[in-house]
C-alpha cells in the first residue's frame, strides 16, 4: 500500500500549500476531494485480478513518484511546432497548468463560454458544482477517484441552447520533459445546451522526452438535440503515462460522435462511457490506435442504452508492431424495456510483428428483445488478393503492404471531417510504419499534391 501512500502524501502537501496560498476552498470541493481520497485509498491501484484491468498493468504509475507543478512555461516556438495547424478557439495547458500565453480564444459566438476550470471556479464556483461530478462520482475507478482528489485545472465549455460554434474548440495539453516527472489531473466539463452544435478537440502532445502522468476525466452532457463531435488526439511522448475516462450523457435526439485517436504514450488507458438516456439519441465511437516499441494501449468503451429507440455504432481499429500490446473492450448494455435499439460494434486489428499482442473483447449485455445488435472482431493479415492486385499494377510487395496498412487505418480516418486532424494522423501512421514498407515520402508527396 506504500504506492497509494505516496500519492496520498502528495495530496496532503498540496492541500496544505493551497490553503496557505489561497485560504480554504468552498466546502463542496473539499468534501469531494476527501471522498475521492478515501475511495482511492480504499481501492488502491487496480491489479490484474480486477476484470476491467485484466490486460493492463498500472505498476508503472503506481510505483512512480510524480510531483505537481505550478509552472506553465513552454517555449512558444516548440508549442507552435506541436500545435494542430487549424483555426480554432484554443486553450492550452502545460503539465495541467493553464497557459494564458499559449491560449487564444478569439471571438466566441454569443452564449458560448470556453474557460479554464480555475477561472470558472473563481467566477462562480456554484455554477461548476452542479455539473462537476454529475456523471462520474468517485466510484468509477481508482483513477477517477484520484482525479477527484487532485483536480485543480481543466476546461469548462458551455454552449447555450441553440448556439452553434463554427470553429472547433481546441483544448491543448502539453507535456514537458521535466527533471522529475509530474502528474496532472485535468477535469473537462462540456455542457451542450439543447440543439447546440460544436466540435471539441482534445490534443495531448508534448516534448519527446516527457515522462509525465496525465489522469484526465471528462464529463460531457448533451441536452435535447445537441450535436457534439469530440476528438481526442493523443500523441503524447513514448514515455508518457496517460489515463483518461470520458463520461457522456445524452438527452433526447442528441448525437455524440467520438474520435479516439491514439498514437503516443507508453501506457495508455481510455474509458469512454456513454449513457443514451433519451429517445432518438445516437452515439458514434470511432477509434484508432497504433502502438509500437513497448507501448501499451487499452481502450474500454461502454454504451448504455437506457432509453428506447437509441442507436450506437462503434468502429475501432488497431495496428500493433514490435512488442506493443493493444487492448479493446467494447461493451453494449441494453436495459430492460429499452426496445427498438440498434447497436453495432466492430473491432479490427493488424499485428505487424510476432511479438505484438492484441486482447479484444466485444461484449453484448441485452435485457430487451426488440433489438438489433451485432459485433465483430477480427485480427488478421492484409487481404492477399488486394496485395496481388496492387502488384499486378507494378507496385512491389512491401509497398503494397504499406499502402494497405495505411488504408486499414484510413477506414477510420475517412470519417474525420477535420482535414488537419486526418492529415496529422495519416502522416503519423505512415511515419510510424516500419521502413520495410517504403512509405517514407509517399504520403508527404500525396499530401503536398493535395495542397496544390
Amino acid at each position: 500500500m506504500s504506492d497509494v501512500q505516496t500519492f496520498l502524501d502528495r495530496l496532503a502537501e498540496r492541500t496544505e500549500a493551497r490553503r496557505q496560498a489561497h485560504g480554504p476552498e468552498p466546502t463542496w470541493i473539499a468534501a469531494r476531494r476527501q471522498a475521492g481520497a478515501a475511495r482511492f485509498e480504499a481501492l488502491g491501484f487496480p491489479d490484474r485480478r480486477v476484470e476491467a484491468w485484466k490486460y493492463t498493468d498500472v505498476r508503472a504509475i503506481a510505483r512512480g513518484d510524480f510531483a505537481l507543478t505550478d509552472s506553465a512555461d513552454f517555449s512558444p516556438a516548440s508549442a507552435a511546432a506541436l500545435t494542430l495547424p487549424i483555426a480554432a478557439h484554443r486553450l492550452t495547458f502545460v503539465d495541467g497548468v493553464f497557459s494564458a500565453a499559449l491560449s487564444d480564444l478569439g471571438e466566441l459566438p454569443a452564449g458560448v463560454a470556453v474557460l479554464p476550470l480555475s477561472q470558472a471556479l473563481a467566477e462562480n464556483h456554484e455554477a461548476v458544482g452542479g455539473p462537476l461530478g454529475r456523471l462520474t462520482g468517485v466510484e468509477f475507478s481508482p483513477f477517477s477517484a484520484l482525479n477527484t482528489a487532485f483536480m485543480e485545472e481543466g476546461a469548462v465549455v458551455r454552449l447555450a441552447p441553440g448556439s452553434v460554434v463554427e470553429k472547433p474548440i481546441l483544448l491543448q495539453f502539453l507535456s514537458r520533459a521535466n527533471a522529475q516527472p509530474v502528474m496532472s489531473h485535468p477535469r473537462v466539463l462540456i455542457e451542450a445546451g439543447a440543439r447546440s452544435q460544436a466540435t471539441v478537440i482534445e490534443h495531448h502532445i508534448g516534448e519527446s522526452e516527457a515522462a509525465n502522468f496525465t489522469n484526465l476525466v471528462d464529463e460531457v452532457m448533451l441536452d435535447r438535440g445537441a450535436i457534439l463531435t469530440h476528438y481526442k488526439l493523443q500523441e503524447a511522448s513514448l514515455k508518457d503515462l496517460h489515463v483518461a475516462s470520458i463520461h457522456v450523457e445524452q438527452g433526447r435526439d442528441s448525437r455524440y460522435t467520438s474520435f479516439n485517436l491514439n498514437l503516443g504514450g507508453s501506457l495508455v488507458r481510455n474509458d469512454l462511457v456513454v449513457d443514451l438516456n433519451g429517445k432518438g439519441a445516437e452515439a458514434n465511437f470511432n477509434g484508432l490506435f497504433f502502438a509500437q516499441g513497448r507501448q501499451h494501449v487499452d481502450n474500454h468503451t461502454l454504451a448504455n442504452h437506457n432509453a428506447p429507440l437509441t442507436f450506437s455504432n462503434e468502429n475501432y481499429k488497431g495496428i500493433l508492431d514490435d512488442r506493443a500490446r493493444g487492448v479493446f473492450n467494447g461493451r453494449v448494455v441494453v436495459k430492460r424495456d429499452s426496445q427498438k435499439i440498434e447497436a453495432h460494434q466492430s473491432n479490427a486489428n493488424l499485428l505487424l510483428s510476432d511479438r505484438a499482442e492484441i486482447d479484444t473483447k466485444p461484449e453484448l449485455e441485452i435485457y430487451a428483445d426488440d433489438v438489433k445488435c451485432s459485433h465483430g472482431a477480427t485480427t488478421g493479415q492484409l487481404d492477399e488478393e488486394a496485395v496481388f492486385t496492387l502488384r499486378t499494377r507494378g507496385i512491389d510487395e512491401q509497398t503494397a503492404r504499406g499502402l494497405l496498412t495505411l488504408a486499414f487505418a484510413g477506414e477510420v480516418m475517412e470519417r474525420v471531417e477535420l482535414e488537419a486532424v486526418a492529415e496529422r494522423v495519416e502522416l503519423a501512421v505512415a511515419g510510424k510504419l516500419p521502413e520495410r514498407f517504403n512509405l517514407s515520402g509517399l504520403v508527404e508527396a500525396a499530401m503536398s499534391l493535395h495542397d496544390d
Partner: protein
C-alpha cells in the same frame, strides 16, 4: 505437511471413522478426508488413487468458488451434500409407469422415446422390460475385438491403473478450478474409453447403454484417450428430461488425442430446470477439456443444452499439436428462470492450429444466458486461425442474452474472426410462415430450428432428430 504425515493422518481418520461403517451404502452429509477415504475404499481403489483424491481435496480447501460468471444463485453448502450413495435398488423406485408423473410421460411421448426406454428413464425397475445387461455384453464383445476399452472409470482404475496414472488429471489438473478440484476429490463414477493406435471405434459410444447406472450423474468423471490415428464418437446424456435428487452436479471430462486422432464428443443436457420459479433445478458446473496433443489431431465438441437451473460450462480445446483442430458447436436454450453461462476456450499453442466456434443461444421466458469464450493465440502458433460465430435469439422481453468473447492474440500470422448478433425472432419471418398456413407455434419452432441448423448438423443423426424435438418441447409456451 509431509506426505508421510498426511498419509498417517488419513489412515488414522479412516481407521477411526469408517472402518466399521464400510459396509453401509450411504454416508451422512459432509466432506472431510474421511469421506474421501470412504469413497475410495468403497470403490476398491488402490492407495495412489486415494492420495490423488486427497491432494485434490486439499487444493480445493484453499480455493474459492468462481464469481465471474453472469449467474445468480445462493451459496452452496458443501457440508450439506451427501457424497456417496449406492445405486438405488429397484424396489425404491416406481414399480410401473402408472406411478410416474404423467407430465413426464407426455414429454417422452413428444420426444419420440421408445416405450421400453421410457420406463427406464422414469426410474421404473427396468430389468423386466429392457435387458440392458445383455445389450451391453453384446457391444462389449464387439468393442473388445477392436481393442477398444469402454468401461466405468472405477473399473478402469482397478483394471488399467497404468493408463489412468498416465492420463488422469493431465488435461484438467486437480486444481484447475474450484469444481474440478471438488470432482477430483469425490468423483464416484463416469466413463473410460481407450482407443488404441490406428483403430476406428466400430460404433458410437453412448451413455444410453448404461441407462441403468443410476446416480452417476452427480460427480461424473470421464476420460477418453485416442492413440495415434484412432477415432471415436462419444454421446453423452439423453434428450429425455432427467430427474435427479442431487442438486449439485460437477462433472469433469478429459479428452486426449494423439497424432492424427479424432474425438467427437456430443452432449445433450436436459437435467431438471426447476419449477416455474426456478426452484429445485440442477446446478450444473462442468469442466470439459480436450487436449490435441498430437500433430493433426482433432477434437470436436457438440452440445445441446436445454436443462438445469444453472449451467456453468466451457468445453475447451488445448491445441498443442501442429495443425491440430478444435471445434465447438453449441445450442443452448433457456426458458423459465434458467441461467446459463456457457461457451468455450480455444488455446492455440502449436503451429497451423485451427478452431471453429458456432454458438447459438435462445433465451425465452425470464431466463438469462451468456456466451463466454476465449480464443488465445500463443506466440508460437504461426498461421493459427479461428472463426467464431455467436448468435443470440430473444423470445419475449423479460429474458437476457449476453456475449463475452475474449480474444488474446500474440502472433501476427494468426487470423481470428468473431461475429456475433443478437436479435429477436423476426416478426416478418413469422408472418411469412403464417401466411403460408403454418401456425405461430410451428413457425417459431421452424425458425428456431433453422437458427440452430449449423449446430444440429454436427450431431450424430439420431441425436439430431431428438434434439430438434427437444428444442420444441423446451420452448413450449414461450410464445403467444
Amino acid at each position: 505437511m509431509a506426505s508421510q504425515e498426511m498419509e498417517q493422518l488419513v489412515r488414522r481418520e479412516y481407521k477411526e471413522g469408517f472402518v466399521t461403517d464400510i459396509e453401509s451404502d450411504t454416508i451422512p452429509p459432509g466432506l472431510d478426508e474421511g469421506t474421501i477415504a470412504f469413497i475410495s475404499q468403497k470403490k476398491g481403489e488402490p492407495e495412489w488413487m486415494l492420495e490423488w483424491r486427497l491432494k485434490a481435496y486439499h487444493q480445493w480447501l484453499k480455493m474459492t468458488p468462481p464469481s465471474w460468471a453472469h449467474l445468480d444463485y445462493p451459496a452452496i453448502d458443501y457440508q450439506a451434500i451427501s457424497y456417496f450413495s449406492a445405486p438405488k435398488r429397484p424396489e425404491d423406485g416406481p414399480q410401473s409407469l402408472d406411478e410416474v408423473d404423467p407430465k413426464l410421460l407426455e414429454t417422452y411421448e413428444k420426444l419420440g422415446i421408445p416405450l421400453h426406454e421410457r420406463a427406464a428413464l422414469a426410474g421404473v425397475a427396468v430389468d423386466a422390460v429392457f435387458d440392458s445387461v445383455s445389450v451391453t455384453t453384446t457391444f462389449k464383445e464387439k468393442l473388445g475385438e477392436a481393442g477398444v476399452i469402454f468401461c466405468s472409470i472405477s473399473e478402469a482404475i482397478r483394471d488399467y491403473p497404468e493408463l489412468i496414472k498416465q492420463y488422469l488429471g493431465t488435461v484438467v489438473p486437480v486444481a484447475d478450478n474450484y469444481f474440478a478440484a471438488l470432482n477430483s476429490a469425490v468423483f464416484t463414477d463416469g466413463s473410460f474409453v481407450f482407443v488404441p493406435e490406428g483403430v476406428t471405434c466400430p460404433m458410437e459410444l453412448s451413455t444410453y447403454f448404461r441407462i441403468n447406472a443410476a446416480n452417476t450423474g452427480q460427480f461424473e468423471r470421464t476420460l477418453i484417450i485416442c492413440e495415434s490415428r484412432a477415432q471415436v464418437s462419444y454421446l453423452e446424456g439423453c434428450t429425455a428430461p432427467q430427474r435427479d435428487e442431487n442438486q449439485l452436479h460437477a462433472a469433469v471430462v478429459e479428452l486426449v488425442a494423439l497424432e492424427d486422432a479424432y474425438i467427437k464428443y456430443s452432449t445433450v443436457q436436459n437435467w431438471y430446470p426447476g419449477d416455474e420459479d426456478g426452484k429445485g433445478g440442477i446446478y450444473n458446473f462442468v469442466t470439459k477439456r480436450g487436449d490435441c496433443r498430437g500433430d493433426r489431431s482433432r477434437i470436436s465438441w457438440t452440445q445441446v443444452e436445454t436443462g438445469s437451473a444453472i449451467t456453468w460450462k466451457y468445453p475447451s480445446c488445448v491445441l498443442r499439436g501442429k495443425d491440430s483442430i478444435g471445434e465447438f458447436y453449441s445450442v443452448a436454450v433457456t426458458n423459465g428462470r434458467q441461467q446459463a453461462d456457457t461457451g468455450t476456450k480455444m488455446i492455440h499453442i502449436g503451429e497451423g492450429t485451427r478452431s471453429y466456434i458456432v454458438s447459438k443461444g435462445i433465451s425465452a421466458g425470464r431466463s438469462n444466458q451468456s456466451y463466454r469464450g476465449l480464443v488465445k493465440i500463443g506466440p508460437r502458433a504461426k498461421g493459427a486461425r479461428n472463426f467464431t460465430q455467436c448468435d443470440s435469439l430473444l423470445i419475449g422481453d423479460q429474458c437476457g442474452a449476453h456475449t463475452f468473447p475474449y480474444q488474446e492474440i500474440g502472433n501476427s500470422t494468426a487470423t481470428v474472426e468473431h461475429e456475433a448478433t443478437t436479435s429477436k425472432i423476426g416478426e416478418d419471418q413469422l408472418f411469412y410462415c403464417q401466411s403460408r398456413g403454418i401456425s405461430e407455434e410451428d413457425a417459431v419452432s421452424m425458425i428456431v430450428n433453422g437458427f440452430c441448423k449449423d449446430v444440429f448438423q454436427e450431431l450424430p443423426m439420431e441425436f439430431a432428430v431428438e434434439a430438434e424435438a427437444l428444442l420444441n418441447v423446451t420452448l413450449e409456451g414461450a410464445v403467444g
